[in-house]
Symmetry: C2
Amino acid sequence: MAVTAEPVTEVCRRARAASLLLPAAATADKDDALAVLARRLRERKAEILDANRVDLERGVEAGLDAALLDRLRLDEERIEAMATGVEAVIALEDPVGELLERRTLESGIELEHRRVPIGVVAIVYEARPNVTIDAAALCLKSGNAAVLRGSSSAAASNAVLVELAREAVAEAELPAGTVEAVAGGGREELGQLAKQRALVDLIIPRGGEGLKAALEEVAEVPILYAASGNCHVYVDATADPGMARRIAYNAKVQRPGVCNAAETLLVHRDLATELLPAILADLHEAGVELVGDGRVRAAAAVPVAPATDEDWDREYHGLKMAVAVVDSVADAIDHVNRHGSGHSEAIVTASADAADAFTGGVDAACVYVNASTRFTDGFEFGMGAEIGNSTQKLHARGPIGLRELTSTKYVLRGSGQTRG
Amino acid sequence: MAVTAEPVTEVCRRARAASLLLPAAATADKDDALAVLARRLRERKAEILDANRVDLERGVEAGLDAALLDRLRLDEERIEAMATGVEAVIALEDPVGELLERRTLESGIELEHRRVPIGVVAIVYEARPNVTIDAAALCLKSGNAAVLRGSSSAAASNAVLVELAREAVAEAELPAGTVEAVAGGGREELGQLAKQRALVDLIIPRGGEGLKAALEEVAEVPILYAASGNCHVYVDATADPGMARRIAYNAKVQRPGVCNAAETLLVHRDLATELLPAILADLHEAGVELVGDGRVRAAAAVPVAPATDEDWDREYHGLKMAVAVVDSVADAIDHVNRHGSGHSEAIVTASADAADAFTGGVDAACVYVNASTRFTDGFEFGMGAEIGNSTQKLHARGPIGLRELTSTKYVLRGSGQTRG
């Protein structure tokens, strides 16, 4: 792979120039580029796999662990998934130009409030090369110029994927600079990227707490964190026992390494003697390591270690769960607001009052009643592809899809109005 | 005035506690508090004026200039304007709970996407005591706890106004902590406030570039800048001459010290010999100091000094204007995008193509066709009161009204759904 030693500023400057033209790009042209990209991914499969083999061999030499190597690895199936993912973005509505409001002001001026692209969006991510294609496709459809900064471990794979995206942009006659990439996955390039306030409008980091901390330290560009989740399931006194068992199990066990998996289970004290031991037995059988407070440990028929203060704040990213007994829905809400990360929180209840108290009182992007936290996802929400899930309260909260990649503009048409 | 030496963290902690209860506050209770506040402002006029007199005397002693003293000064009329401003907020629709989307997902889960308060909003402002009431009223109606930090020059006035707001909050039985104030207007308190990431969700500074720079240096809390404006009026080749003269004059002269006043006039070269001199003569007669490029100076019949490179980037905040001749609408767009601050930009034209090119190509919060830039304002836009104008692209762009003081929440109601 040809790592260009080009300064980050030059890369961003080309993206900026493209970003001034992209708001006017026709939906058909953007969709054409996406169709070409999907086709190239399939046609050039062998080239992609060759590059990926280089990354994998380097990864083995560098001693990457099995999980990282798996995330890095591409195969025919994963390449086909990238192509169908791009085709799914074609099917999504173009958010650019969407009319949010139109009205005639007292002055007679006609006001229109419309969605416009944000401008230059930088995506910073780790390992998985498919993010290169997801991010390029979402930015392209939303009229943003993308500056991609993958990790050095995927450099060869990403170089080929970026090249395919650029060919698609060129073939659809969209501005050069629509898809740019920062070569070199080091912290120095990251620092440079994070300081391009004049050229980059937004950085979206997809990665762990280390990446977040590194960016917070240096960033001058606004950041939208696709953040980690410390999610809870609260089983209320009135919960249907079978439903509670299924939801608690699903939220923890179905895919424990993702951000919408549950980390803590809260159970109402009325259920401590019967339902709680049954839920704990389910989790134990699935191989979940359990830690809990005194009341949980007293009730459990399976091993539950004592929970430390830190356990309530942790995202385990695996088969481990903290469990507490609470005295009321109010106590559950208080626990969630003190320890949660504002991602996805669920209550299992048959009481409308408890459901309303929980959905109103819990301060999070997504609050569930009688469903698993695992549904927080752009596809599940009917938004199409997503670029992560925001736990921030400003700009975008929840799945970051095409609309969340837009800003707005007021256009005001008059007939000579002046202010008196 | 009793300046409490209370730590900033304690003030923010009380606001945080209130912010957890405020999302559930009934619109009627919030409106009650606003009605009480309007009444108290009228009933306690004498007390407010006494406190204001203390600030004014201190200001004179400290040698504040006439403009600052004027902004600091309250009189019966200005107090009445504050009271009617609060009543106008009562009339605005409560944004909290507004339904943005509702649909049934493929999983059968019912998704609702609603507006919720942001949480704790800190407003940092200078001199004018009326901002205390505007900010408190807008935060209250939008369900946010407000942390107000006025300048030390208005300390006595602000202390009385905050007290009235607190009494109104108490009388309506809203949570204590709904309106909080940081005593002491120094940079140290500002720095402390800007670091309360765990307690404050947003800071909105209302002030000049000095305040902005001071905050950018230290802030860890997200900031929404109610920023300054370097606004342009572009007179296109096809402009109606009378309309062009009126709009250029109004945008510069009607109130030159505000952020939506124009700083630069761009005129198409076809109009350089006839219309341009007439516009310059109007401005000169109004006392506007003119600077211009070579073509402007050659055409003008009134004094026009040479413009320096810096002139194109400056917000004069007064009766001074930079003028340039451009060769096309494309050149005008390019000038605006290079030098503008993304606030408010106007084209005067009879050509639909030129209007579309300008509104599409100019990257700004508000783009006008055949109207003065001076209309950028929450009241003029039919949004009611505002807390400034955002030139950022993220979260809110344009006037910051009640909706812009909200975040969103997804509430998802299922019947036991788990993810497969």
